[in-house]
Point group: C2
Chain length 336, copies 2
DNA sequence: TATAATAATGTGACCGGTAACATATCCTTA
DNA sequence: TAAGGATATGTTACCGGTCACATTATTATA
């Protein structure tokens, strides 16, 4: 590595001006006589000069670097957040450091390193659930949460409108004439599980359908837990005719369990998922699901973070993004 | 942001030593009298001092930052590469900038920005195929390719042993008594498609099965292309009894087409995929596939990159990782 | 005890930009 | 033509570390 070690002073020497004038040209600020500017630009060309970001950071006290911490990088939802954020960041002249922090300890270490070294100007935190270690981020740090809302007025966040999402999913099933609607939730400790649950209840309520405890199964987002949920439901007499799974993986597990039990989806039982993960349309049957615009959420988060860095007195927004229902073939009219 | 603006000189003043002695302590190098070291460390504690990475980069000419450029961040395979690389990088004290560059132009711009600004010490390039713009990376830059091998002796790479993988997949089908084995390839311009194809041919050869042009369909990695491939195969008389799809998405598309055509997988026809993507085990039927250890590939790539940064005369390794066959239920014995 | 050798610490410059202020140049206007 | 104001450019210090070398304190050797 290395090379192109041309500095502002080399350019200045060649152009016969002071280094400060070169600085003025590369920041195309101030008034520089057009003729001088031209001379400097020629010198820059000739020497293939380009400014050293580190030196600039040093002098300006700004790094133009954001950091994104996520439980992992492979989950499709998280990866889309990051991709959206990265794109927006780059569009605005920032780079994005990414790191995965699967547990509280890694998270704390990472945040410490990032902040202590002053390598980054702001933090994007992806997490499905706000935990104590998240909130230990010092207050003076610009941070935006994606996926969960810490509900602290100095921390911005971008979340999905889970309540409405849960409402939409449930309402879709109700409109298909289902009344025995089971739900496979994520861990109930997680905010989004709770939100979706509230939406589910509200929709039942609005339709005058009584809520039944036995129709709720707490999963852990894994396909396996979806599978087990169905085993649980099928043991009951008067089983549900429709299932709302709070994510697609659990929906897929549920469908598999139904198939293994000889039930046909959607003929015997409808299933709606959540996330619209890749290939959701290629499952058998293609999955009806709720789409969250993860890409947009990432972009919005980056925007918000940059704005809070550049204009620190701007208020922190807590953005809530609306979901969208995608109807495919895993849900159908209840004909009994 | 900001805060904790303590510098090495503040610490020096408090400890009653010179700033250089503080520098010695924080780099725990040189001989510093234990008693002095203690005084300095106390001062560091008291002032909550921690070194400024930017200043350090400036002085040392090193940023301890790597960059990873990928066509996108959401593809599971790419994301695993990145996650593996990030972990290894962090373990060795580096941070990882990630960016997506879906096309040649973005790629070129990005590389320029990264290199010109001297923000990063090395490049991790994820790509399924080496294209001209990739090779325009200046020679003095440390770079490691993941997924494709530029075959230039100054660029390291980590790739899958595609030929062996293709061989394994095909041999698996042959052992199940299949002789009419079709293949859905990726774009044949891509190195990995070609490698897998060579393995396929070698396995047929070894078993004395003639190669038939009509059994090859060129897909584009999408599920849709897998679907179309099957439509093509089924039109032929004397259709294949087994299909090797060069990735799981195409395999899923193929299975769907087979189902739509009333064929049962694996009873009527066996399908083997490639990648072992998430939920491959939850498809119907659970997908037999070839696993590439993407996580390890990412780690190896980061290792290689760091070593080539720290010891520039080390030779560039072109690592080739072995695949693994995962047998599930989409393939079975051909009983006719 | 004088002197060399070694260990411990200090000094000042430097990395490559930017900021603040100083100076020089040019054009108006009285 | 001298003074005043704007415009253009230069000077110097500074950001916060590290490096090379100078200096001082300590110990070993003659």
């Amino acid at each position: 590595m290395s090379r192109s070690r041309m500095t502002i002073r080399d350019v200045a020497a060649l152009a016969g001006v002071s280094h400060q004038t070169v600085s003025r040209v590369i920041n195309n600020s101030e008034r520089v006589k057009p003729e001088t500017r031209q001379r400097v630009e020629n010198a820059i060309q000739e020497l293939k000069y380009s400014p050293n970001a580190v030196a600039r950071s040093m002098a300006r006290g700004r790094t133009y670097t954001l950091a994104c911490i996520s439980p992992n990088l492979t989950d499709f939802t998280y990866a889309s957040f990051i991709e959206g954020a990265e794109l927006e960041a780059r569009r605005q002249g920032y780079f994005l450091l990414t790191a995965s922090a699967p547990n509280a300890e890694t998270f704390a270490t990472l945040v410490n390193q990032l902040l202590a070294s002053r390598r980054t100007e702001g933090l994007l935190v992806i997490t499905p659930k706000v935990e104590p270690h998240h909130v230990r981020i010092p207050r003076y740090v610009s941070a935006v949460f994606i996926g969960a809302n810490p509900k602290l007025d100095w921390i911005a966040s971008v979340t999905l409108d889970d309540e409405n999402a849960g409402y939409m999913a449930t309402e879709h099933l109700i409109q298909l004439n289902h009344t025995h609607i089971a739900q496979i939730t994520g861990p109930i400790a997680e905010e989004s599980s709770q939100g979706r649950m509230r939406g589910y209840q509200a929709a039942l309520n609005a339709a005058g359908i009584p809520f039944q405890r036995r129709f709720i199964y707490e999963g852990d987002w894994s396909a396996t837990s979806g599978y087990m949920a169905v085993q649980d439901f099928l043991e009951q007499e008067n089983a549900p005719s429709a299932i709302f799974a709070q994510n697609d993986r659990m929906a897929v597990g549920a469908i598999r369990a139904l198939r293994d039990a000889g039930r046909h989806v959607p003929k015997n039982i409808s299933v709606i998922g959540f996330d619209d993960m890749p290939l959701a349309s290629y499952f058998d049957p293609p999955l009806t699901t709720i789409l969250q615009d993860t890409y947009r959420m990432g972009r919005e988060a980056a925007c918000q973070l940059i704005s809070s860095i550049e204009k620190p007195d701007n208020p922190c927004r807590q953005l809530c993004v609306e979901p969208k229902l995608i109807v495919r073939q895993s849900t159908t009219l209840n004909d009994q």
